[in-house]
Symmetry: C2
Subunit: 625 residues, 2 copies
Amino acid sequence: MSLRSTTKGRLVRVIVQPDNIEIHVPSGSTVAEAALIAGTAVETPCGGMGICGKCKVIVTEGVSAPDASEKRLLDPAELAEGVRLACRSRIQADTVITVPETSRSVVQKILCSGISRQVTPQSNIQKLYAAAPEPTLQDERAEFERIAETLGLRPAELQMDLETARRLSARVREAGYKVTAVVAGSELLSLEAGDTTSSKYGVAFDLGSTTVVGYLIDLNTGHEAGVASTTNPQMAYGDDLISRINFASTEPHGLEYLTRAAIDALNRIIRQLVTAADISPHSIYEATVVGNSCMTHILLGIDPASLGQSPYVPTVCRQMTARAGEIGVKINPRGLIQVLPNVAGFVGSDLVGVLLASMWEDDGRTRLAVDIGTNGEMALRHNGRTLACSAAAGPAFEGARISCGIRGGPGAIDSVRITDEVTISTINNRKPRGICGSGLVDAVAEMLNAGIVDEMGRLLYPDEVTELSPSVRQHLIMGEKGPEFVLADANRSATGKALTLKQRDIRQLQLAKGSIHAAIRTLVKVAGADVSGISELLLAGAFGSYIRKESAVRIGLVPDIPVERITSLGNAAGTGAKLALLSVKERELASHLAETTEHVELANHPDYQNEFMDMMLFPAVISER
Amino acid sequence: MSLRSTTKGRLVRVIVQPDNIEIHVPSGSTVAEAALIAGTAVETPCGGMGICGKCKVIVTEGVSAPDASEKRLLDPAELAEGVRLACRSRIQADTVITVPETSRSVVQKILCSGISRQVTPQSNIQKLYAAAPEPTLQDERAEFERIAETLGLRPAELQMDLETARRLSARVREAGYKVTAVVAGSELLSLEAGDTTSSKYGVAFDLGSTTVVGYLIDLNTGHEAGVASTTNPQMAYGDDLISRINFASTEPHGLEYLTRAAIDALNRIIRQLVTAADISPHSIYEATVVGNSCMTHILLGIDPASLGQSPYVPTVCRQMTARAGEIGVKINPRGLIQVLPNVAGFVGSDLVGVLLASMWEDDGRTRLAVDIGTNGEMALRHNGRTLACSAAAGPAFEGARISCGIRGGPGAIDSVRITDEVTISTINNRKPRGICGSGLVDAVAEMLNAGIVDEMGRLLYPDEVTELSPSVRQHLIMGEKGPEFVLADANRSATGKALTLKQRDIRQLQLAKGSIHAAIRTLVKVAGADVSGISELLLAGAFGSYIRKESAVRIGLVPDIPVERITSLGNAAGTGAKLALLSVKERELASHLAETTEHVELANHPDYQNEFMDMMLFPAVISER
């Protein structure tokens, strides 16, 4: 799903129901793209090819006439009622679109904190109340110096920009010289009338390429006052990073669209957070952001072009700061957006967040942290050094390019057991809609144990497996192009169609897990370490949290180490963003971690391709555990 | 001359000839106001009342019909040719106005440096050339870190704003990684292609309420590469500060107009400087500005309202920094405008500049610095303390409110001798056009010595003076309202009318000099010093430079101390701005001086009014010198 293929025109206004969200999109956008920009992802299992008919929406005007796919997949009664395929119908004028519950892609479940870190709030934002004396002929100090000195601050050491200076006099006079100074580091951000010191919030963002999560934090107490997430509306401009980089570089205003989409996502989350917590967005003074380098470059309006071509260098790694009002993030406009530092082009601040969350340097053990998404990013701590790399795993772990793959969410098969019978479970115990990444790993691990898949990754034909129980054997059927393993038959499935795994799904998993494992092995080798010496393996991210550790080892996604050494961190990147928001000491540590982490370029490493070939295979024998 | 009295409309375009300057002014502006905004001050001795007929200009369309004054003062042939009075004709539509040489007010002569200060250039702006290695798979550092590290700078300690970050990648790639980094303090301002280190300029501005002067400085060598000045176009909105503060506070967009006028003045000077020196304005990276608090507040767009009412507090005293592009100053848009710190509402950074220029704290002597303009600002150093105050002298020293008073410039009478005859000299030896401030002080000193004026300030009648030589006696005549002292008769005068001093001119001088001397005495008293203990009296500013010291003492403008203790500094405020531009150490010293100077509020001091009454009189007997 990409906007690149079609000429886009002027912006038109679209209302997306039932959430009543108003957006503006270039005419020519598909309804699916528009819905995504509005934060309502439409399920498009076929990738917007107009072949599955899953993305039904209702729209009666302002769109293109039904195309051949729609006429084939929708019956006349549906067309008469305005039912259309979101991936095929294109918006031509102002309109209203309704996305039925059945067509909606559910929001991904995200663990908020997998590890417990104690941190003393030491915010970069200070609020200081001053009841200053009014000026008299005996006390003619300037307004700024009057307030600063009342607060015990040295005026010469307190910065102030023009905007604040221009408003200062009127503000303090209106407030009768009883004002709260909002100070960030050494800068006076603003003055507020009266004593507002009790209201001081921040938001920590994990800006993922697929999902964006925000945590509202009370900066006085460190208390988490809310969490919200949304699909990254940039998905409308390309699923993967390379598509988005190309879009930014080649489309007129492409970078602007992408930046706007990222800002929109942050603003949507802020709206949700302030509404739920019943606070003013103006009482949010700082936000931290972690994400991969491409996401954070785009957020700041920095062209990511150099990330799209070898040698993949970012424009900047160090922490960057932007004024909220300058880039349109709707917290206090004087507030600061702190984008945490990157390690390298494809080792972003999200991995730095993971390291920060995991007290990375705290002991002398050899530790491995792996954050698995479309890109697998990982770091190894060994002998006082930290090495990091990234590997392109592809989207298999997020359910993409898998026949019945979906993202984690209600109805996603998240575990599979094969004993005398096949048992599946789904998130929220809903009727199964498809399989998510952790379910896929689990299913294949069990299929390996049951002898349904061999170590080369071949899915056996029903007549090749003789030792299965009759109940299990019924799950192995012959499809049009070969054998298929039935996870749920048409009767049990929420979609009305059987959910099966096919040979090509196993191959996609092999490619994905092979790239991750090969990267781990290369990193271990460069560090002069040994796989068996890894004391702790930290799995970060949603996928790493839901995966069954035994299954991850069984399929060879990670090295064969005792499972008790494996820890799931949850959304550790987000936890890192929270820590850096809460404490300037943690923020300094993040910069230290980013600066001292050595990047290993896999494309440059002679062993990586060989390891990749080996690691695509499944382990033959698993050690006793 | 003020815009306040008339309703102003939309902006119209005006070309001012012969300089061919295009400006935009609100319709309803007088032609004189428009000319002033264009930098061409029209001589308006009558203050724009339409009574002297001196401000003739040529304008044939887009202006109001001739009013009664014009019909009275212009003959029909002139009116037919488009001759109009600049102070009476109002602009209604786009037009062209021509200001003949005879109607132009000449630009004030300014001393560039009255004292010699040695300073080692240590600019806040560093230019560093980097020939960085291009990125490879073996060297994947980010663009920013690559450049910083090549220069030996720690990336984490180098700041960069979004605008620079957004341009950085394309810039370094286009330049093949051979770039010059422009660094201000700890901020990367910009990157330039190739090695541009040899071209690094700054401008030091003295933003006076009447005249604006700019000095172009080569920041590599400290060499002064040019000087230029212009009339402050804010004059169109009021001669004195209080008029301008009122205009800013009460007129819609008043502050905006005044800020625009100040910025226009700086830009006009910059254009002159870069044209004369044949450099690009982009190679100017920093400017320092000194001026009174009102001028610098307005320059930065800060409402000066609080300076217009008791207790006259400014919004801010500390040094302020603005980005050139942010406020529209046309040097390098990434460059910085550094507005030096103020001491108090009416003791501005111009006095701080004077103190900086005079090595103020260098020894233990008791020193007095006086900068005489419309406001007299002064500082006294005694027993390790610095006390400062300001006194409203009124515009007499600038030639205003004096019958034949004009500003210093060609044709202005700048010295008068009365021996057996009356001898005058004029600036540039032109035919006399009027008398300037230093000439007035000289004339009255001589008239006191000659017994033509008594110590009460009374101008004697011709029949009261018996001891004058016949030649001198001819100069004392009876005018319509009393005696007048003829400086130049109608035949000798450039105006065709006799130039005389009247009783009310003497009174104006008494008020002005009384306020200055009373302020000095109050300051001396508050400091616990004694007038006779003043080791050095520094006279700053154009007036202070041209004045004859003996005459200043004779009329009691300054205390009766030996003239060899009196030093003329020239434009010391501008010299201070140059020092602060050239060296960060000097800039720190300016902040130190501003912070440690104690302000004495005369309005608050019980002795000041009494001193003022006494000091309005002329000294009876002068000590031997």
